[in-house]
Symmetry: C2
């Protein structure tokens, strides 16, 4: 958890501690699957989604017993999709540890993910989430799966801008939105504010992905452990490259790269080209614009510590 | 759907038709994942679980709008676990068609399964299932995953009888139990009857698996498309072999088979041996005993067409 967020909401550290205890306690059993799930959910991660649930709930009437299980359910859903991601991508590691499927095989990893999805549903039921809220979360999971499949089917081709937006919203925006809106519901905010927080989460998630795209083409990326050009090597078109590909000659080269032998020298060359064309700068503008819109949304809410906390989520995404 | 069941409850055919329409309508979209899911849920299958939901609900006040989505949710959960099963087992076919992962790859198959789990949750939310009922269904899915992982971890070893029972209950009993009890809840049966139907479903599911085990060692198996000894070749110990393995010499041979090169000649020999030792006959006795107990449970309910319908589920499992 980023210090800037924790500093802006003094109560948050204590609540995140309650969250960690609840989460570990939810998988306290001794069966193989519970131990695997416990390792997965307690192995760190930035905890952005549960912190968004908690901070959003703090905008209103904060009730720990209601909010913490919600935060845990959303983090467990997220962790479940990561296990399946790792099976699919054949990823060797997750959060600097061997990925579950590399230790226990695909069989265990796939069913542990399913187990965690069901367990998160039981957490939601435990805090008596009404049918409409439950339904929205289920819909979010559906859209995440659907979006991932659409991205996979369109891999190694250059998407249009709208397809790109749908992809980043599916990848991060929807669960951020669900985290904020569900938190706002738990904090008993009025419906208009719940809607506002949904849209705030969507845009924050999109900004998060655009920033990730920029890290992929920036040398700064390699400083935080993300090797430059990794997405491009995987056939995923980041925003700067998407913007650059409006120029025919760049587009032709990029398509040649995607269709043929990919190598790191060529990837680095394409990224340099995108930077020289001004596309990296334009992607940064788009990121900043999104962050400004996030702040503007927050400014519609009454001033409070929790609002400052959400503002800190916006600020850590600036490059 | 077996004719004997349909004949015993005249209204059931019409309700199953409504069920099929609802299910196809739930996946009516045009996205890749919806089409994949629609193919999966409409590709047949015996529809035992939704028929159990509907017939159990008919014991009480039958409300179609409430019951059909429940039946569809349970069948969708079942289909989701089958997609993941097929990925894990590398199965080539499912219900005489190519398995989804063989057409679209593991990526699509894993996420389609997740999508279907989330979609089934949305169906449950749509019929305003209260938190306790939701929680029970989630718990059932957890136990199914957990049981499957435990079985996988203990594969190719001879389980104890209690472990065997846990396995068959996880494999079929729990979802049968959930189908019956949730149906009974939807039919507004009193709590005692709901509990009775839970235990009826558990035992019916166990009987279903024991019958499947018997088909694996009976020549009758090959008549309905299941090759004899298939489970044994996969390292799964069926009930007749488990019973036979109380004899030391048989157990030694079985362990040698599991630990070394498995071949069909040796498998056939072990099965013949189990039959001669009387273990096949004893497994049949256990099946009959379970079916008798199922009937006895039903006899505690007031006589009705729906009760006769549930009795028909028991009778089709007799060998």
């Amino acid at each position: 958890m980023d210090d800037r967020i924790l500093r802006s909401v003094p109560q948050l550290s204590a609540e995140m501690q309650h969250f960690e205890e609840y989460l570990a306690g939810a998988f306290a059993g001794v069966s193989y699957v519970e131990r695997a799930a416990r390792d997965l959910v307690t192995q760190g991660g930035k905890r952005l989604r549960p912190a968004l649930v908690i901070t959003s709930a703090m905008l209103g009437n904060y009730d720990r017993d209601h909010v913490i299980p919600l935060a845990a359910a959303i983090e467990t859903m997220h962790a479940a999709t990561l296990v399946h991601d790792d099976v699919i991508d054949g990823a060797e590691t997750r959060r600097d540890r061997p990925a579950l499927h590399t230790i226990s095989g695909n069989h265990v990893a796939i069913y542990t993910g399913d187990y965690m999805l069901a367990r998160s549903l039981r957490m939601l039921a435990a805090c008596k989430l009404p049918a409409e809220e439950m339904s929205r979360l289920a819909y979010v999971i559906e859209q995440i799966c659907s979006g991932d499949i659409a991205q996979y089917m369109g891999r190694s081709s250059i998407p249009g801008y709208r397809t790109y937006l749908r992809r980043i919203i599916g990848k991060t925006g929807l669960l951020f939105a669900a985290a904020c809106a569900t938190g706002a519901y738990a904090g008993q905010l009025e419906e208009q504010s719940q809607k506002l927080l949904w849209h705030f989460g969507l845009r924050l998630g999109a900004a998060f992905q655009i920033r990730d795209d920029l890290l992929d083409v920036e040398s700064i990326g390699s400083k935080i452990g993300k090797p430059t050009g990794r997405d491009l090597m995987d056939g995923i078109i980041t925003l700067p490259l998407l913007l650059a590909s409006t120029a025919t000659d760049f587009r032709t080269e990029l398509q040649r790269f995607l269709g043929g032998d990919r190598n790191e020298v060529k990837a680095a060359e394409l990224i340099r080209w995108a930077r020289q064309s001004g596309s990296v700068a334009r992607a940064k503008d788009i990121l900043e614009n999104n962050l400004t819109k996030c702040s503007n949304m927050l400014n519609k809410l009454p001033e409070s510590e929790a609002r400052q906390g959400l503002q800190a989520f916006v600020e850590i995404l600036a490059i």
